[in-house]
Amino acid sequence: MSPEAGRSEPLRGRAHTFGENIDTDRIIPARYLTRHDPAFLAQHCMEDEDPTFASRVQAGDFIVAGPNFGCGSSREHAPISIKAAGVAGVIAPTFARIFFRNAINTGLPILECPEAVAGIEPGDDLEVDFATGAIRNLTRGVEYQARPLPEFVLEIVAAGGLIPYVRRQLGTAS
């Protein structure tokens, strides 16, 4: 792993929980896809699932969701809206594969951990280290270890996303 990833520190925030198969239409409805500025998309994040989410979420909070999070469309507006809403990362047992790629590529931290999802209740205080995969539920005093990301994927994460990674590859990084 590169030095950047090693520098990351555990993040603390509250858990917002969601069910299984949360699709991208519920993360950011298509009616808002006529624009792609992050601040606008953040205002409508999760709107059709929980209209109060965008106003309740605090910078540094986490989304904790059921399996197959982000299924449906390829819209990158979904991870963009989550990140711009201030969410520090998403924890789920599994992610839909395009959402998984989009999160990695755009620098939205994600972890796959079924045990943590089963044990976390709405509003729990969490401490999460996305580099090591360690998840601590501070409210309940329980620790979990997420499945590690593949090494190649960690390189993209460490570079800060796919664009900085490609810049480095092409030698266009300043």
Binding site: D25, R31, R97, N102, T106, F152, L162, S174
Partner: protein, 424 residues
């Protein structure tokens, strides 16, 4: 040990003799696709990479499909960003209003998708092109940006789930019914990260258009791709349209399939997916009495000429039921023209249906046929998530064009046989 068709295509594009499921490989891409929603984000990211030109302007396709013709000023701005980029980069495969279509109907029709290619597209239904024997998968805008700059993409080699379908299909049973049935069997994450390979006599009996419907919805089972190895049907379809050389692969007899499913579909009924998941599928005889407010026939799933033909065959001489709005949207300019020549548009209009120029609009609740709170739509599209076609408290039922036409006539979800018998 043998390889699957998917592994062979990925190995060839990674410059490797062989690849295994789970490996991450960097593949050359033959075609990179974006639309008016995803390309503007990709263009923004492309600008950050520090290269001036796309890797090959002949291998980038940009299709104004989602909010085209422009639904409002914001959508117009996005379409313009894509148009300006296409001009700047000399991208010939930029399809705008007047020669566009829904991308996944348009690119196969234009012969841009051929067997053996690796295609990535910033649209989840990019998996459609597996019907011609290509590896094709949906990605996000940043992946599209990186591929436009480098001509490559990183891909995890998927394991393959094989679906062998046997039996002769009933009269009203289509490709749509097969894929809805399979998604109902395995669930919306039943093939998560996997390639779905479709085979067996029932698949081989399908036309290319019906096969495109099957692979189109692989994403609805969570799959990375759907694929059907090329055969005579594929070659006949491509004979006059292929823009690139064909590279024909098939899975080896000793290829490893992570799972193999076998189904006898000879007694399958038309299928309907109830709200709010494509896996919530039932045979039509178990759907019950469900009145609808709107019927939509179109989309990348079911907006091709065969879809319009079967819908018109039922609507001919009939009227759309009082209180039901029926929308027919041919998927491409070519389909529209053909439907006009065959007199299908006249059938739809005389029946009281509305016909529009190609657009993805209705399918994603973008424009053209958005649903109000509490309304119910029977749609030939691919997703019925809450809010998919409009208000989050509207309901979408998914089915074939034949079921859609029968439903438009009766005003409630109906078996095509009911209408056909009545007509006869």
């Amino acid at each position: 040990m043998g390889m699957t068709i998917t592994e062979k295509i990925l190995a060839a594009h990674a410059g490797r003799p062989a690849v295994e499921p789970g490996e991450i490989v960097t593949c050359k891409v033959d075609l990179v696709l974006g639309n008016d929603v995803t390309a503007p984000v990709a263009i923004k990211e492309f600008r950050k990479i520090g290269v001036d030109r796309v890797f090959d302007p002949e291998r980038v396709a940009l299709v104004a499909s989602h909010f085209a013709p422009n639904k409002d000023i914001a959508a117009a701005t996005q379409a313009k960003e894509m148009r300006d980029f296409a001009r700047e980069q000399g991208i010939r495969h930029h399809y705008d209003v007047g020669d566009m279509g829904i991308e996944h109907a348009l690119l196969p029709e234009k012969g841009l998708t051929v067997p053996g290619q690796v295609i990535i597209g910033a649209d989840s239904h990019t998996c459609t092109y597996g019907a011609v024997g290509a590896f094709s998968t949906g990605v996000g805008s940043t992946d599209m940006a990186a591929a436009m700059a480098t001509g490559t993409a990183w891909l995890k080699v998927p394991e393959t789930h094989r679906f062998v379908l046997r039996g002769k299909l009933g009269r009203w049973v289509s490709g749509k019914d097969l894929i809805l049935y399979l998604i109902g069997q395995i669930g919306v994450d039943g093939a998560l990260y996997a390639a779905m390979e479709f085979d067996g006599p029932a698949i081989r009996s399908l036309s290319m258009e019906a096969r495109l419907t099957v692979t189109n919805m692989a994403i609805e089972a969570g799959a990375k791709s759907g694929i059907i190895s090329p055969d005579e049907v594929t070659l006949a379809y491509l004979r006059k349209r292929a823009q690139y050389p064909l590279r024909l692969y098939r899975s080896d007899d000793d290829a490893r399939f992570a799972r193999t499913y076998e189904f006898d579909v000879s007694r399958l009924e038309p299928q309907v997916a109830l709200p709010f998941m494509p896996e919530n599928t039932r045979p039509i005889s178990e759907v019950g009495d469900v009145p609808v407010d709107q019927v939509f026939i179109g989309s990348c799933t079911n907006g091709r000429i065969e879809d319009l033909r079967i819908a018109a065959s039922l609507l001919k001489g009939n009227k759309v039921h009082d209180g039901v709005r029926c929308l027919v949207i041919p998927a491409t300019q070519g389909v529209y023209l053909q439907a006009m020549r065959e007199g299908l548009l006249e059938v739809f209009l005389e029946a009281g249906a509305a016909v529009s120029t190609p657009t993805c609009g209705a399918c994603l609740g973008g424009h053209m046929g958005v649903l109000a709170e509490g309304e119910r739509c029977l749609s030939t599209t691919n997703r019925n998530f809450p809010g998919r076609m409009g208000h989050p408290k509207a309901e979408v039922y998914l089915a074939s064009p034949a079921v859609a036409a029968a439903t438009a006539i009766t005003g409630r979800i109906a078996h095509p046989e009911e209408v056909a018998r009545h007509v006869a």
